[in-house]
């Protein structure tokens, strides 16, 4: 069923919750475990704005198993306005509509279904800002 491994990162997947460093103010996404030597409260949860620009993009025409029905689909690296780069699909968008630096915003969508008896995995995608 793969329940736990999707459940435990639900805040990041559903609302783009990353982390902010309490001292330096650095924002990171995705959230990461504490490193050896870091104080337990070094990083606090931080919800990112979901706004960013397309760093680069491609169209997946030979999809991995589980994504066959979606192909062809747009995939992008999005530079979020807080700094982190994130990998996600683009949605609500024609295949020939995307350009580098295009402004985009986060939306929550179905990522994939894990078979007839499995979970439906939801998470972030990005769409053009209109």
């Amino acid at each position: 069923m793969d329940l736990a491994k999707h459940w435990r990162i639900r805040h990041a997947r559903y609302r783009l919750e990353g982390q902010r460093h309490r001292t330096t103010g650095e924002v990171r996404f995705p959230p990461a475990p504490l490193r050896p030597g870091e104080a337990h409260d070094s990083w606090e949860p931080y919800v990112l704005s979901g706004r960013g620009r397309v760093y680069s993009f491609s169209i997946v025409r030979q999809p991995p198993e589980g994504y066959d029905e979606q192909a062809p689909y747009l995939i992008a690296l999005v530079r979020l306005e807080e700094g982190p780069l994130v990998t996600a699909q683009l949605t609500d968008c024609d295949l020939d509509q995307v350009t580098i630096d295009m402004p985009v915003e986060m939306v929550t969508r179905k990522l994939r279904a894990l078979g007839p008896t499995g979970l439906i995995v939801y998470g972030y995608k990005f769409r053009p800002v209109v």
Partner: protein, 384 residues
């Protein structure tokens, strides 16, 4: 630490071996590497395989190959580092021999990719990236390279057609390699008119995953002179890593594991870039080769594609690349690629590379990377 030598090489043709198992391919390559040396003299076995577990074929590939080779009982282990598996396994073999604990070690790279349909293979290959933050979004390794290619074109002003010299060179060289999957030349026009796989990457700028096995015998200096007329010295061996996910990197167009492992290897061999006469790198796409050459210090940033356009990567150029056909024409045997590279470069150093021979080559560099460069393994080989 003792010096380490390659005293035997072997490989099967890369291709769709419907009638062969991973074990049978591995043993054919190992037997060819052994030649007249009895398998019983092998002290340890390192097996490189990227997908054998994730394609639900078999785990514990080390004992599997040892058993098939009739040497069950010896120390045997499998090593997985995506498409860098071969190079990482070779490094473990070098460390084992250099330590003085064993005198003769076999390294076998084996991959069996054609027993599953394309979509399952794409899923397994995508696990070389970050499963939770990349693969779950349906991104493939090819699409990650495609995004880097588009950004590279944007930054440096190249067009898709500028990358054609990489697959054209690979195919031209593959003709001379009896183990290559595609032994025919292609033109830049054909590359340009091929259908898209992941824009801007077209079909003829994408390697084909296939089956194959390649093997090396690694020996100490004392033994090397006894068992080989033309031992090749492993002058340096280095492995470095980078973040698993591409998006975690400060500059996605800079492969820092490649930079670090290349610099470490050159320093260990007391060489500069100019000493390297022929090289082989992980090159499933032109953009991959370009970024590797730049991070490795063989080209200025943004200049590798121009160097290829000017002919530098052909066997007669200053940076001969993919002389055995590379991933594109040899065929992409994934975890075994790092061993195929060394088999082909040993042939170069022995002057046995036929039409793709680099005249007088005595120093070669082999480098393989896993995924988008999360692992990089570099070896420098010399003929004394």
């Amino acid at each position: 630490m003792r010096n380490v030598y390659i005293v035997g090489t072997g490989a099967t043709p890369v291709g769709e071996h419907w009638d062969r198992s991973a074990a049978s391919l591995a043993v054919e390559a190992l037997a060819a590497a052994l030649g007249d040396i009895p398998a019983s003299r092998v002290g340890a076995l390192y097996v490189a395989s990227a997908l054998n577990g994730s394609l639900e074929v078999q785990s514990q590939v080390g004992p599997m190959v040892a058993t098939a080779a009739g040497i069950s009982g010896i120390e045997a282990v499998s090593i997985e580092a995506g498409t860098a598996s071969g190079g990482v396994a070779l490094r473990q073999a070098c460390l084992a021999v250099a330590s003085g604990i064993v005198d003769l070690v076999a390294v076998v790279g084996v991959e069996k990719t054609t027993d599953v349909l394309d979509a399952r293979r794409e899923r397994a290959l995508a696990l070389a990236g970050d499963a939770e933050w990349e693969a779950i979004h349906g991104v493939t390794t090819t699409a990650l390279w495609a995004m880097l290619m588009r950004r590279y074109m944007h930054n440096y002003g190249y067009g898709i057609e500028d990358f054609a010299p990489f697959p054209v060179n690979a195919h031209a060289n593959g003709v001379a390699n009896p183990n290559a999957m595609y032994r025919f030349a292609i033109t830049a026009d054909k590359v340009r008119s091929a259908p898209m796989v992941a824009e801007p990457l077209g079909l003829l700028d994408c390697s084909t995953a296939a089956d194959g096995a390649a093997a090396l015998l690694i020996a100490s200096e004392g033994l090397a002179r006894d068992v080989s007329a033309a031992p090749v010295c492993v002058a340096a061996s280095a492995v470095a890593t980078d973040t698993l996910a591409l998006h975690s990197r400060h500059d996605p167009l800079w492969l820092s594991a490649v930079a670090h492992s290349t610099a470490t290897a050159l320093r260990a061999a007391r060489m500069t870039h100019r000493d390297i006469q022929v090289l082989d790198v992980t090159d499933p796409h032109g953009i991959t080769a370009a970024l590797v050459l730049e991070a490795g210090g063989f080209a200025e940033r943004g200049a590798a594609v121009a160097l290829a356009r000017d002919g530098a990567i052909t066997p007669k150029g200053a940076l001969p690349l993919a002389t055995g056909g590379g991933c594109k024409a040899r065929g992409d045997a994934v975890g075994a690629n790092g061993i195929y590279q060394v088999v082909e470069l040993v042939a170069q150093l022995r002057g046995q590379a036929g039409a793709a021979q680099v005249a007088g080559a005595s120093v070669a560099l082999a480098q393989c990377i896993g995924g988008i460069g999360a692992t990089a393994a570099t070896h420098i080989l010399t003929m004394e």
